[in-house]
């Protein structure tokens, strides 16, 4: 149940965000990301948004040049996670005003805050975009 990890990568394979909800060594992490990259980048519109991967499954979606991937347990609800990704992206979009890849690069430390508002311990924490954005704006005003 729940996420193993989530990451955002561009087409070239550069990781823009990685959040791990299970224990892995650093080299294992790198290897996993590379493998997932290899698997999702060859898929196109005729494929599903779900890929079986080892004894997990990857739910992913591509937004412009970025792949947002969540690795979940095989029993988890695919569509729920697919939309959780979209919900997250919409929040990023609001927060960074038409978010682009560079925003995630220059503000990487803030992206983690957004993630932790919406996902924690491998589970969905908050789904209301209104509430999340309100909280983020409040935090932004703090010194």
């Amino acid at each position: 149940m729940g996420d193993g990890w989530a990451h955002v990568q561009n087409r070239a394979g550069k990781t823009r965000l990685a959040k791990w909800y299970m224990q892995f060594d650093d080299d294992e992490k790198q290897k996993l990301i590379e493998e997932v990259h290899a698997v999702v980048t060859v898929r196109d519109a005729k494929h599903t948004n779900f890929v079986e991967f080892r004894n997990f499954k990857i739910i992913y979606r591509r937004y412009a040049g970025l792949y947002f991937c969540i690795c979940v347990d095989v029993n988890d609800n695919n569509l729920a996670y697919l939309e959780a990704i979209h919900n997250f992206v919409e929040v990023l979009n609001e927060y960074f005003h038409n978010v682009c890849e560079l925003d995630l690069v220059f503000n990487f430390y803030k992206v983690y805050t957004v993630v932790d508002e919406m996902f924690l311990a491998g589970e969905i924490r908050e789904t209301s975009q209104t509430k999340v954005l309100k909280q983020l704006l409040m935090l932004q005003s703090l010194e």
Binding site: F50, L120, R125, Q140
Partner: protein, 817 residues
């Protein structure tokens, strides 16, 4: 333009990031990074203390460098210092650094835990959340030890802010998953259940996740959650779209929370209380009804959110497996999705229908979609969708459609991905055997399997066809003829040669009358493949040749000539050489009567569980046998010679021709039946474990009488091999059947020996009241287990250590012999 927000500009960071991005090469990047690292190092070591802003900036830069993929071996101290700042931005960076670069230095851990403790006690919800998130992200044992007792308190405290409760719930979840022993159930559990009634939907969302995890190990403590979950779900599902403003997503009210509630309900059986149950059923019907209504939005987000709830609802209906009306409706809904234009939905529908197929209430409804599924198998472009279609065909197979399904699967096999071929081969073999009315069809199917995917036809499959042909007189002639024809193909797979070699050796006489398949023709056909085959196959063929000498005396001279050849008698492989020598001698020395007795036709094999099914289960896990477990669907189950059902109810009695010495004859390698413990002295001698009687007899049955609804099957065919190996080894698997695997590990030193017994649960349910009994002859002192500490986890990889070694003096061991 990247937004650099007011408040914490950190221009230096932005400049550094730009520099890195502008580096033209990897070397330039490394150079720039090293320059920065040197700069930061000197600033950290510098005389004057850095101000908070600078420290924050440098720690953030270090973090960035780490995330680029470079190792960072300093900065932890500074990051920890940031934790004690009273500025949010500084704390945030400090916590982020230590969450990402987890360090196991105990001094740092102590400081970090201190900072967390302070923040948790600060009554500032922002700081409390930072601390809780850090614990949730790191989740180390040390943090668990420090805080596991506090988190439940914070979670249920009346004055905790909503956001703090949300974070506390999930933080507790993380700690529980990592170290369940640190989070004992207590007074707080009832209060946690009541969070399901909280007015803040985010708190409910987090609480549901926590409860779902906790109730798996402690179902009784949380069973009151069922009625609360039902009410909550019911209110959401029937709410108007204006009710849950903040939590409505593309016109769907609280989709994620609904899904979570439905998953929580799947942890429990259907509610016993009639009112609760009624409300739930109404709710499920509403979801199914809504699926039929025209959508409120054309956006895919709307349909995904709605369908997420729908699929989880169907999962719950399947889990309950008690409402025929709902099951059939679910099936019909999925049937509509099978032809949806979105691949995601077709995939999910196929997957979900697979589980529906095994329910007696919906099995017939599922079958009505067979044509659509076959079409999917042929036309879907995503291989994972095709694979789901194949799985569904397997699940929906029964007597009425077996021939059609098997032929479609064979066709699919021809172009299937290599990774899945073995599984498809196993499934086709199982279906062909299970539903064969006409065994010549079965033989054809297996031979087709070999022809199409010979490399993936494992031993279990072709042993099985040989067993079946041996046991059925009516198909022997057909098998001989078909195999003969198959062998004539210019390039035939080695497995075909094995099968053909064996069948002709046993039943070649049935086609010898026809001049096209006369004995010399049969022999030269087989022998033409001889040199192309592996050692194992050649060994099999040699046995066939000696059988030919018996069956067809006219071939004796030719075959003896072959056996006599230097390449056989002096073959580098010991087995081949031995067979050639012995068969040659046998053919020269034995009289025709003796020869005929020795090489008599193989007797029928006694029945036991299909090892193919066992193999498939091993490949796929406990859920694999679903197509066949449901004997309700198949009242007139067809069987060969006493039943090939996967749930045999008796330990097979040794047949007269049982191999008492436990030594295997030459092919077929199908195991002789397990001799009962009393009858097999050799096994006793080799078993040096005073515990669990040599696991082949009736005694395992006694020990496991309370094991559950399934009857205990006979041990797996390899059981006697398992014991033989203890001649030379101290460790290994002692006994195995469908339910249980027992392993033993022993060590000996001077006059003392110690033995560990490991019990592995192979089923998908927990063992209850599992009490292994150690029985020792005579005056051996042992400890006897009275209670198993906790039921063996289902489907666990075997080898769960039993923490009580049995020690006794070696001279007593000798007395066992």
């Amino acid at each position: 333009m990247p937004a650099v927000s007011k408040g914490d500009g950190m221009r230096g960071l932005a400049v550094f990031i730009s520099d890195i991005r502008n580096c033209k090469s990897k070397e330039a990047e490394i150079k720039r990074i090293n320059k920065e690292l040197a700069n930061i190092r000197s600033k950290f070591k510098g005389d004057k203390a850095l101000d908070g802003y600078s420290k924050k900036k440098y720690v953030c830069k270090l973090l960035f460098i780490f995330l680029l993929g470079h190792d960072i071996d300093f900065g932890h101290m500074e990051a920890v210092n940031l934790l004690s700042s009273n500025k949010y931005t500084e704390k945030q960076i400090g916590y982020l650094f230590i969450s990402v670069l987890v360090n196991s230095n105990s001094e740092l851990i102590r400081l970090i835990n201190n900072a967390i403790k302070n923040d948790l006690a600060s009554r500032n919800p922002t700081f409390m959340c930072l601390a809780l998130h850090c614990i949730a992200n790191v989740g180390s044992r040390e943090m668990g030890e420090a805080f596991a007792a506090d988190i439940p308190r914070i979670l249920v405290a009346g004055d905790s802010m909503d956001s703090v409760k949300q974070s506390a719930a999930l933080c507790l979840l993380r700690l529980y998953k990592a170290s369940p022993d640190l989070v004992p159930m207590g007074e707080w559990t009832a209060r946690v259940v009541h969070l399901l009634n909280d007015q803040h939907m985010g708190v409910v969302t987090a609480a549901v996740s926590l409860i779902t995890c906790l109730c798996k190990k402690n179902p009784d403590d949380f069973k009151t959650c069922v009625s609360l979950a039902v009410s909550r779900l019911s209110r959401i599902v029937s709410s108007a779209s204006t009710d849950l403003q903040d939590y409505t997503y593309y016109f769907v009210p609280a989709p994620w929370l609904s899904v979570k509630l439905l998953r929580l309900l799947q942890c429990y059986p259907p509610p016993e209380d009639a009112a609760v149950k009624g409300r739930l059923v109404e709710c499920l019907e509403t979801v199914l009804n809504k699926a039929q209504e025209p959508p409120k939005s054309k956006k895919v987000q709307h349909s995904n959110a709605k369908n997420a709830i729908l699929f989880e609802t169907i999962s719950l209906i399947i889990h309950y497996d008690s409402e025929p009306n709902l099951l059939v409706r679910a099936c019909n809904q999925l049937g509509q999705f099978l032809q949806h234009r979105e691949t995601n939905l077709r995939y999910l529908a196929l997957e979900s229908m697979c589980t529906l197929a095994s329910s007696e209430f919906s099995h017939e409804a599922v079958k009505t979609h067979i044509d659509t599924v076959i079409n999917a198998l042929k036309t879907e472009r995503d291989v994972s969708v095709r694979q789901r279609a194949a799985d569904l065909l397997y699940a929906m197979c029964d007597r009425s459609n077996a021939k059609q399904i098997v032929s479609e699967m064979l066709r699919y096999l021809e172009t299937a991905d290599y990774a899945i071929r073995e599984e498809i081969v196993l499934k086709v073999a199982i279906l062909a055997e299970k539903y064969a009315v006409d065994y010549s069809w079965y033989v054809d199917t297996i031979l087709n399997l070999i022809r199409i995917a010979g490399d993936y036809v494992s031993e279990e499959v072709w042993y099985r066809v040989l067993q079946i042909v041996t046991n059925r007189d009516d198909v022997q002639g057909y098998a001989a003829k078909t195999v003969f024809e198959a062998l004539q193909a210019p390039a035939c797979h080695e497995n075909m040669v094995k099968v053909g070699g064996y069948i002709l050796g046993e039943f070649g006489n049935l086609i010898a009358g026809d001049p096209r398949s006369s004995p010399p023709v049969q022999f030269s056909l087989l022998h033409s493949k001889f040199h192309l085959c592996s050692v194992a196959t050649r060994a099999l063929l040699l046995s066939t040749y000696i059988k030919f000498i018996n069956l067809f005396p006219e071939t004796k001279a030719t075959i003896q000539g072959v056996l006599r050849a230097g390449s056989q008698l002096r073959n580098a492989d010991v087995e081949l050489q031995q067979r050639a020598v012995e068969y040659l001698t046998l053919s020269s020395v034995a009289s025709t009567d003796v020869l005929a007795t020795v090489l008599e036709e193989m007797p029928p094999f006694p029945e036991r569980e299909s090892s193919i099914l066992a193999k498939l289960k091993r490949k796929k896990g406990p859920g694999a046998g679903s197509a066949l477990d449901d004997s309700r669907r198949d009242p007139s189950s067809h069987d060969i010679n006493g039943g090939v059902e996967p749930t045999p109810s008796t330990v097979s009695t040794p047949s007269p021709s049982a191999d008492l010495l436990g030594l295997r004859a030459a092919p077929p390698p199908a195991a002789p039946p397990a001799p009962s413990g009393a009858g097999n002295l050799l096994v006793d001698v080799f078993s040096d474990s005073p515990a669990a009687q040599p696991g082949l007899g009736p005694s395992p049955e006694e020990a496991f009488l309370s094991a559950g609804p399934e009857d205990i099957g006979p041990p797996i065919p390899e059981a006697d091999e398992l014991l033989n190996k203890f001649v030379c080894r101290n460790n290994g698997v002692l006994f195995e059947n469908q339910l249980l695997q027992i392993g033993v590990k022993s060590e000996f030193r001077q006059n003392l020996g110690r033995m560990y017994l490991f019990y592995g649960n192979k089923t998908s349910v927990q063992f209850q009241n599992f009490s292994p009994t150690v029985v020792h002859p005579g005056d051996l002192q042992t400890h006897i287990l009275s209670a198993w500490p906790s039921p063996a986890p289902p489907g666990s990889t075997p080898m769960i250590p039993v923490p009580r070694p049995v020690t006794w003096p070696l001279r007593a061991l000798h007395s066992l012999r």
